[in-house]
């Protein structure tokens, strides 16, 4: 296979701007089970001690303003950046080329169409293209490491990128973040907004990562780990991983 043949990347969703579909929006938000949301503060991560609200969160009713959300955000946020590994013809990022794809689903397992999916990550040396990241690891002139797409009618997203490197957290009692990819998803409801991270299967650093382990439920942690597609199915061009993400929200079902 030609290394520089671009793999399958998503086509934009079919929703017309401003189109409202009754099935598009979840309308029930059951309370989350214990252990799914991160426990704070995180030991050894001082920022969590100074930024996290100390007072208990107030549980509010879900009225229109909480259940609704912007449906046509792709007009505001351009969703055309899916190829992070090849910024221009003939320029290829360093590292393991990786095809990253999956579906955005709601709690009923239905595809979330037209969701905006933002992805950002470190380069192969574990450094971000960001002014705040001043670590002495090399930048890659061919890798910025962020992209944004919109899910299609089946809720699918895909990016072509490289596998990120690990990096140390600059705190007193340092630890290394395992390779991970950051996701920000803007779904059909302000309550279904999700910012999360995705990890790679089989990395020993996953077990030592304080951020991943702020999630106490082992099954919830396991759901943040991607699956690798067997290389025989992918060919010799790149690695492939799949990862489905479930946003909050169910559809009301008629009483039986």
């Amino acid at each position: 296979m030609d290394l520089l043949t671009q793999p399958t990347l998503p086509k934009p969703g079919l929703l017309k701007p401003g189109q409202l579909k009754p099935g598009l929006a979840p309308d029930v938000f059951p309370p989350l089970a214990e252990g799914i949301e991160p426990a704070v503060p995180v030991p050894g991560y001082p920022n969590t001690w100074t930024h996290t609200p100390a007072q208990p969160l107030l549980r509010r009713p879900a009225t229109r303003t909480e259940v609704a959300g912007p449906l046509d955000l792709w007009r505001k946020l351009p969703c055309d950046e899916s190829n992070l590994a090849m910024p221009a013809p003939g320029r290829v990022a360093q590292g393991q080329l990786m095809h990253m794809s999956g579906r955005i689903l709601d709690e009923d397992g239905r595809p979330v169409r037209g969701a905006v999916v933002e992805l950002w990550q470190a380069n192969a040396a574990g450094r971000y293209f960001h002014p705040i990241d001043q670590r002495a690891a090399p930048l890659d002139p061919n890798f910025v490491g962020n992209g944004r797409v919109r899910t299609d009618e089946e809720g699918r997203y895909a990016f072509f990128t490289i596998k990120p490197g690990a990096y140390p957290v600059p705190v007193k009692d340092t630890w290394w973040r395992p390779p991970h990819v950051h996701f920000s998803i803007l779904g059909p409801s302000s309550l279904s907004r999700l910012v999360t991270q995705m990890y790679f299967p089989g990395d020993p650093m996953n077990e030592w990562d304080r951020i991943l382990h702020s999630i106490h439920d082992p099954a919830a942690r396991a759901r943040l780990i991607a699956r690798q597609t067997h290389p025989a199915e992918v060919g010799d061009g790149w690695l492939a991983f799949t990862h489905d993400i479930v946003l909050r929200g169910r559809h009301a079902t008629p009483e039986a």
Binding site: P70, R221, R223
Partner: protein, 206 residues
């Protein structure tokens, strides 16, 4: 029907947005809720207002590089969304969503329309703006709601405002500034992420 066929999928866990949310994800006009896109004309239905404030953490130190997202109804209290039974009445030119990023002193700003209130089965909602704060150290987003002092009777009846202990409700009121800016009323709304019960902004669960 057995549970396995009806049980919902558990939602994916939140994680911190971290310190490296790309600056290239921001473009001019992202903090302007009045227009659908950078090139679209702004909505003219209602009063355009400016909103700004500071995000601080424990000790009143500024939160640099925090990301804020705003979401609200249009001037008539409607949403262009199927969850609103009256969505056909919604303003077609109003997005109602914006994203901003705090500077080195913790300041953010938005341009929007003064929102309308609406009737809801949970109770009459006063005009309000939903704000979510994300940043390094915040393991999940912090969600709060901004109200306007001019609507005191509506605020007192709002089913979300009334969840807040009376002594903390003033933290949810945006203050109108004495001077107009560009001929527009400007409101100030500061967010204190962590502090004493007297200092901290009330935040809401998902």
């Amino acid at each position: 029907m057995p549970d396995s066929l009806t049980a919902p999928l558990p939602p994916s866990s939140q994680h911190t947005i971290g310190p490296f949310f790309p600056r290239t994800f921001f473009s001019a006009g992202d903090n302007d809720l009045t227009r659908l896109s950078a090139t679209a004309a702004p909505s003219q239905r209602g009063e355009t207002i400016l909103l700004h404030g500071r995000v601080t953490r424990e000790g009143g130190e500024p939160c640099v590089n925090s990301i804020l997202e705003a979401w609200q109804a249009d001037a008539g209290g409607h949403f262009r969304h199927p969850a609103d039974p009256d969505h056909a009445l919604a303003d077609p030119d109003f997005l109602g969503w914006g994203r901003a990023w705090t500077d080195e002193d913790g300041w953010y700003s938005f341009r929007t329309l003064l929102p309308g209130g609406y009737a809801d089965p949970a109770g009459p909602r006063a005009p309000h703006i939903n704000l979510a704060v994300m940043g390094a150290g915040l393991m999940r987003r912090a969600q709060t709601v901004l109200f306007f002092p001019a609507f005191a009777p509506a605020n007192a009846a709002d089913p979300v405002m009334t969840l807040v202990p009376p002594g903390r409700r003033a933290h949810l009121l945006a203050l109108e500034e004495a001077e107009k800016v560009e001929g527009l009323r400007r409101f100030r709304f500061d967010i204190r992420l962590r502090g004493t019960p007297e200092e901290e902004t009330p935040f809401f669960d998902d």
